[in-house]
């Protein structure tokens, strides 16, 4: 069982993702952006950072890298793909997920813990959660405001593709709880098939309750992914 974490030039959280997956018992390895092959990994993570500097539009260049052609085919064959922060942006640019991520409403970069409500556990990334659970995981981004046409949002809602929303202490969707102005407080979405999932918060920075923001809630997401990969093997 192996999980590949793609390293683009400008990726920053790729070692963090490998480390977090290993903490949770997985075998994880880096995949180089310039190599088309995925080396037979069982799942792919696109990590956070600023791929290629993100000077044009976040993720806009990364989608053209050799590795992304393989990731698109892998996803098309039902392979599990998780995009975190910049990885989420890349997945949107690559057309694997609907919508786009634009500059935060407040214009500043924000690094802080947020609370996320699990809207549905009906995918491989949330088998360790129940719908309604609230997870504390950090965000750190300047361009994390999720946008999509209202008709697309409606369709995603109906399909159960809106997976995570920013919520307040009591688990309610409020504008105060929305850190970046994302439409309808959306923090993470999946594709219709449920095998591709992207989120702005960083689960890999919430697996160790003695460090960082002192939360291990990110293990719910990464652990579910590991369970799914092991389950598929068994």
């Amino acid at each position: 069982m192996r999980i590949g974490v793609v390293q683009f030039p400008g990726s920053n959280d790729e070692r963090d993702a490998v480390w977090a997956l290993e903490q949770l018992g997985a075998d994880a390895e880096l995949l180089w952006h310039g190599d088309a092959g995925l080396r037979d990994v069982d799942a792919v993570v696109l990590p956070g950072g600023f791929s290629y500097g993100d000077y044009l539009r976040c993720g806009a260049i990364a989608r053209f890298s050799p590795v992304m052609g393989s990731v698109v085919s892998f996803a098309g064959d039902g392979g599990l793909v998780l995009g975190i922060c910049n990885g989420f942006q890349v997945l949107c640019e690559a057309g694997l997920l609907p919508g786009a991520l634009v500059r935060n409403e407040g214009l500043s970069f924000i690094c802080e813990p947020v609370q996320l409500r699990v809207e549905t556990n009906d995918s491989a990334f949330f088998t360790r959660a129940e719908a309604g659970d609230v997870l504390t995981i950090p965000i750190k981004h300047g361009e994390g405001r999720y946008v999509a046409d209202l008709s697309v949002v409606k369709e995603m809602e109906d399909n159960g593709q809106i997976v995570l929303r920013y919520v307040d202490d009591s688990g309610e969707v409020t504008s105060e709880a929305n850190p970046n102005g994302a439409i309808d407080n959306i923090a993470g979405v999946s594709n219709a098939e449920g095998n591709v999932f992207g989120l702005m918060p960083h689960p890999e920075h919430a697996v160790d309750a003695s460090a960082g923001i002192r939360s291990a809630d990110g293990a719910v997401i990464l652990g579910s992914l590991i369970d799914a990969v092991i389950g598929a093997e068994a």
Binding site: P9, N12, G48, F109, K140
Partner: protein
Amino acid sequence: MSLTGLDLALSLALTKDEYDRIVSTLGREPNAAELAMYAAMWSEHCSYKSSKVHLKTLPTEGPHIVMGPGENAGVVDIGDGLVAVFKLESHNHPSAVEPVQGAATGVGGIVRDILATGARPVALLDPLRFGEPDTWRNRWLLGGVVSGISQYGNSIGIPTVGGETKFDPTYAGNPLVNVMCIGIATADHIQRARASGPGNIGVLMGAKTGRDGIGGVSVLASRPFDAEAEAKRPSVQVGDPFEEKILIEACLELIDRGLLVGLQDLGGAGLCCATSETASRGDVGMEVDLDAVPLRETDMEPFEILTSESQERMFAIVEPANVDAVVDACRRWGVPAVPVARVTEGEALVVRHRGEVVVNVPARSLADEGPTYERPTYRPSWIDVLRKDDPMALPAPEDLGEALLKVLASPNIASKRWVWRQYDYLVQHNTLAGPGEDAALIRIEGTNRALAVSTDGNGRFGQLDPRLGAMHAVAEAARNVACTGARPLAVTNCLNFGNPERPDVMWQFAEAVAGMGEACRAFGTPVTGGNVSFYNETDGDSIHPTPIIGMLGILEDTAKQVDIAFKTEGDVIVLLGETMPELGGSEYAWVLHRHLGGAPPEIDLDHEKALQDLLVALADELLVASAHDVSEGGLGVCLAESAIAGGIGATIERFLDDDEMHGWLFSESAGRVVVTCAQKDLAKIRKRAGELPLTVLGTVGGESLRIDGILELPLIDVADAFEESFSRSLA
């Protein structure tokens, strides 16, 4: 360039004496390119010509010091075959002129210094000083600097884990932007910034060389700052964090594969500095081919190519057999790498441009044989007037609760969350304590130990007594590190002062260096390097002397980390150290009376050292639930911060008469830490403390901060003043 000879030298900020010295070294008149190189290398910024004689007095050696001053950064043994590398630098003038790029390139520069030693950069801290945020200009500078640090630091994947942001009118025209970087390397990968082995090749890696930043070290950093400052904007470099990020990864791969003989960053004075310093340190000569240097513009003059401060460049010394491997590895990362120089026998730095020799000078004369000045010092008499003006004589506030809320809301005290939420303090997943704690803690990956880091400096104390001010900076930094349970190890510094050609400023500098040295000797924390920033003045007004200390420590067991938050109802609150009625230079005097005067608090260095040792022992024996340094704002602020962090109040006994309580509550006496502990552990702590003064102040609990018969403030109001005031003041 139409000027020649002495006229050109003077226009480049060299003096007549310095020009004569160059002529005598060369035995002839220098040409324009050579003069530009001497002007850059002999600038105050590069040569430390005014500060050297004083810096020599600092303690630099210790059993755990691997490399001290003279290399790119200090290197400290942290066990397990690992070393920590750290340095603090200023980017004050560029940031005053263009805050976003000035701060961003400040981050980029210090990161390359750490990288040059072979270490992966693991943390950044930013000690910043601005004028008070009540004018649009000061807010613009603050916003720009924070944005520059955020854009650059976040993009290169290095967590910004601490620092300080403070305000005083003294910095309005000349803000301070200091940046500290810490790296970790395996001991056998440490790189020396020196060339060796004639025949070896100098490879220039990274960005193309352009016309940006020419004269950065001489025009911007080494001259008085005045109303013409805006016109100096073209001397500020422009940063590209993506170039830096891939350059970092490429260099780390080259180091890991053992492909390099030496490595040097290109910062101030660019290629001129990198080639002359590496050659001089290695006792060799070097031939440089400017036609091989990748340029942004084709028609650049030799002096421009040599002194350009274009960012994101490194210079590696490579054995001929490894050059192809180095170039290939760089290409894989998208980093251009081009052989531009060759190490030679002898000592000459020979530079060719379009086939002709344009520079031929001894490398050592540029790098190590610049002038040294023993500038006159004079203790100014105004300091006596200032020191007689003791704020204890000012009327005590009628309502101490209201006074405490005012101090908590001051931009110097209030939470700077608005600043640090713009910094990625989590990347690299080793941040055990980040912004808002006394010191940052960075886990040393693969071990259960952590590095502790704090930066501190108090310009008001420096103005009232530069020697004592510097001692306070060292003592506070060490206390902050010890509060986490970590043992202070070593010091770096950035010494921010006015114009060294003024005897009163030079006196402040000499006093501060002496004070810093005395404290570092007492604590056993050698000075591993640092940076001097002179000419911090506006229209003739110097800033307060502001030595910033960066203290590195080590926590032996991450499970024993201590933080500032009150934990459990009923825990005992204990003050270690003694409170004297010392309000000179205090935040209280400034906030309530706009007063700066009197003497700074006294320091007993033996007591400070005993207190540090005690804190490390208490943490190791798991006897304390929290520990928090008492400094700016005094005990009231210290108690409030721990209560807010823990979300639980406190009840404090009353010790003095009403009219003396403000001296107690707001005193900034040194050598104090507030710890909390379980009732059952109090006796053990008393025993451990021995003769060190210890006072039980009260107990943790409730939803207010209460001092018997003096004040009672709901915690929610205390938190509002502390947490929200700063962002409100910027709105």
